[in-house]
């Protein structure tokens, strides 16, 4: 489906211009970030999974560059160039190509060269308002382009964070579960491990060392590890320090001394992750679960409800929307609210649009501190395909 013919290209450009005019009218300044980007920034931020699909090359100066795999990171860099301090309110829109390797047989909705038309908003402290505005603006653009047949899917990492925070467990378990959320299998396995045998890993520690490691006396642990290595003729190699190794081992000893995660809490966390519900009734479902768990996550649920309310006021049809607690994006830079727009003829594996909140990204590309940021992009080839498939019926 790449725009190989002039006719295709004209149709694509026409729908992109429709989208852009909606975006600029909504106050998103049109910008044109560079297509060729320094590879290091992307590789540090997006992780190895997307890196494997990024076209990376070395230029005659020996610098490692890449063809941008999306436009969000380039827009963050553009923002930082204009406002090195980072935390300045700004709204941008863009339209242009992005590039990703697609394994053979990925299908025509997955081309290695595709175009994105999107919006990003930085520095808006009122998070729910900024998120609702992004969704409403994307939906307004799709409406203007003529797409009528679509559903919305919402996720919210803030709710998961709140539930883990409220649940009774050591903070290092929370961090680990939050980190593993991206890998469903590993997340389940970790929940099981924490309820059954959180201390199993400590049995692997050589006994001589285990006996002297005391979580209540962390200062002594590093010296204990150092003398263990020396006694066994093991050379310290590499940048990971003896202190880091000691800290990990201490965590395992502490795990062994902690009460296992209660069966009930683990089950309720698993039930939360499994929630799939119409957006309108989802807050009630989440509240019921919190009551069962005996935790108070009202701040997070209230924010979630308020966001829905703001979206509805801005013209988003919530009857089309579903909440899925497990819905996280494949890109790991999202930190809170996420959403996507699905057309039934293309299916869930090929969303027409998607986006969310990514509060760490602007710092990762050079800001001094985290900057509130939320954005979304429309995959315009897919939009065109959806329209041609009768998406405008």
């Amino acid at each position: 489906m790449p725009a190989e013919t002039a006719k295709h290209f004209e149709a694509l450009e026409a729908s992109s211009q429709t989208l852009l005019s909606v975006f600029t009218r909504a106050g998103f300044e049109a910008v044109s970030p560079a297509i060729i980007q320094p590879a290091g920034v992307f590789l540090d931020v997006v992780g190895e999974t997307l890196r494997a699909r990024t076209y990376v090359f070395t230029d005659p100066d020996g610098d490692e560059l890449c063809m941008r795999p999306d436009l969000t990171v380039p827009t963050c860099r553009l923002h930082i160039e204009r406002h090195p301090e980072g935390n300045v309110a700004a709204k941008y829109s863009y339209n242009g190509p992005a590039f990703r390797f697609q394994p053979q047989g990925s299908g025509h909705a997955h081309t290695r060269e595709f175009r994105q038309t999107g919006i990003e908003a930085f520095g808006e402290a009122n998070r729910e308002r900024a998120e609702a505005e992004i969704v409403a603006t994307i939906v307004a653009g799709l409406d203007a382009a003529g797409l009528t047949n679509y559903t919305l899917r919402f996720g919210d990492l803030g709710l998961l964070r709140a539930i883990l925070k409220a649940a009774d467990m050591p903070s290092r378990w929370r961090q680990r579960l939050m980190h593993l959320f991206w890998h469903p299998e590993a997340f389940k396995a970790e929940l099981r491990r924490l309820t059954l045998e959180p201390g199993a890993a400590s049995a692997q520690i050589p006994k001589a060392l285990r006996d002297v490691l005391d979580p209540d006396n962390p200062a002594a642990a590093e010296a204990a590890v150092a003398s263990y290595l020396e006694a066994n003729g093991i050379e310290p190699v590499g940048l990971r320090s003896t202190a880091e190794i000691a800290e990990n081992l201490l965590g395992r000893v502490a795990d062994a001394r902690s009460d296992p995660l209660s069966e009930k809490t683990a089950q309720l966390i698993a039930s939360y992750v499994a929630i799939v519900a119409p957006a309108r009734s989802s807050a009630r479902r989440i509240r019921e679960l919190a009551t069962l768990m005996g935790v108070n996550i009202e701040a997070a649920v209230g924010a979630y409800e308020w966001r829905l309310e703001l979206m509805s006021r801005a013209g988003v049809d919530l009857d089309r929307a579903e909440f899925s607690a497990e819905f996280g994006r494949a890109l790991e830079y999202y930190t809170g609210f996420v959403f996507e727009v699905v057309n039934p003829s293309l299916g869930r594996k090929s969303p027409v649009a998607g986006g969310g909140r990514y509060d760490h990204l602007v710092k990762a590309v050079g800001a001094a501190e985290d900057v509130p940021a939320v954005g979304a992009a429309i995959h315009t080839y897919r939009l065109l395909a959806a329209l041609n498939n009768g998406g405008a019926s």
Binding site: L229, V237, N248
Partner: protein
């Protein structure tokens, strides 16, 4: 165009000798034609077969693109250079030489890391301490990504290393490595240890057919003859 079957074999060193021995044992004598330093050859008594002597690291690419019908190369190189080896080539016969394992190895002093799961566990603490994900030095970019992904590990960064990979942790340019090893001596000499579940691939030289090459009845017949003799 000629209707000869083209057989790609390693162009020098121990691999070339062992390949020639394996074919000779099956009654197929490889011989260079023309200049001894040339890269063309024949199988004595088989006018339908042409031998191409190719740098060992490039044979997988020749198979993938169909520039040779048959080739002798390691599974590691095939696996690295094709994301979908099963659809592009057909493995005909393991040849019993060129054995080597592709392994994940970490500093031996990481006494808290014995498995891939342990490795996943230290990703986040490492990032907190150093401000970035740990780096994996390797020349096997694709094999590494597939293996790590299969183990649910995505929080790392690959740095490409084309030589002396075992030295990168000590030099501070990577934290761990994915590399080929035969005996493990070099790893130990560099203070590294293979993870308990860190064997990615047990590789050896294989006789492999290209699915992309142009197959005619004549080249098909020549392949059947070679395959029958090699697998007898």
């Amino acid at each position: 165009m000629s209707d000869k079957l083209i057989l790609g074999v390693p162009s020098k060193g121990r691999l070339m000798e062992q390949t020639a021995e394996a074919f000779a044992a099956a009654g197929l004598t490889l011989r260079k034609t023309g200049n001894e330093r040339g890269y063309r050859g024949e199988v004595v008594g088989f006018p339908d077969i042409e031998v191409a002597f190719i740098s060992a690291s490039e044979i997988a690419w020749y198979l993938k693109t169909g520039r040779v019908h048959l080739g002798v190369t390691g599974e590691d190189l095939v696996s690295e250079q094709m994301s979908d080896a099963a659809s592009r080539v057909t493995f005909l016969k393991k040849l019993g030489f060129g054995r080597a394992d592709v392994v994940v190895a970490v500093p031996d002093c990481w006494i808290d890391v014995r498995t891939m799961a342990d490795l996943a566990e230290i990703a986040l603490p490492f990032r907190r301490a150093h401000g970035r994900w740990y780096r994996v030095a390797t020349k096997y970019l694709n094999i590494t990504r597939r293996f790590f992904a299969a183990k649910g590990l995505s929080d790392y960064r690959i740095v490409e290393s084309l030589g002396a990979t075992e030295g990168t942790p000590a030099a501070g340019t990577a934290e761990l490595i994915v590399d080929i090893t035969t005996t493990g001596t070099t790893l130990a000499a560099n203070g590294l240890r293979v993870l308990d579940d860190g064997v990615v691939l047990r590789s050896e030289a294989n006789l492999i057919a290209s699915n992309a090459a142009e197959w005619s009845p004549a080249t098909q017949a020549a392949m059947n003859e070679i395959a029958a003799r090699m697998t007898a």
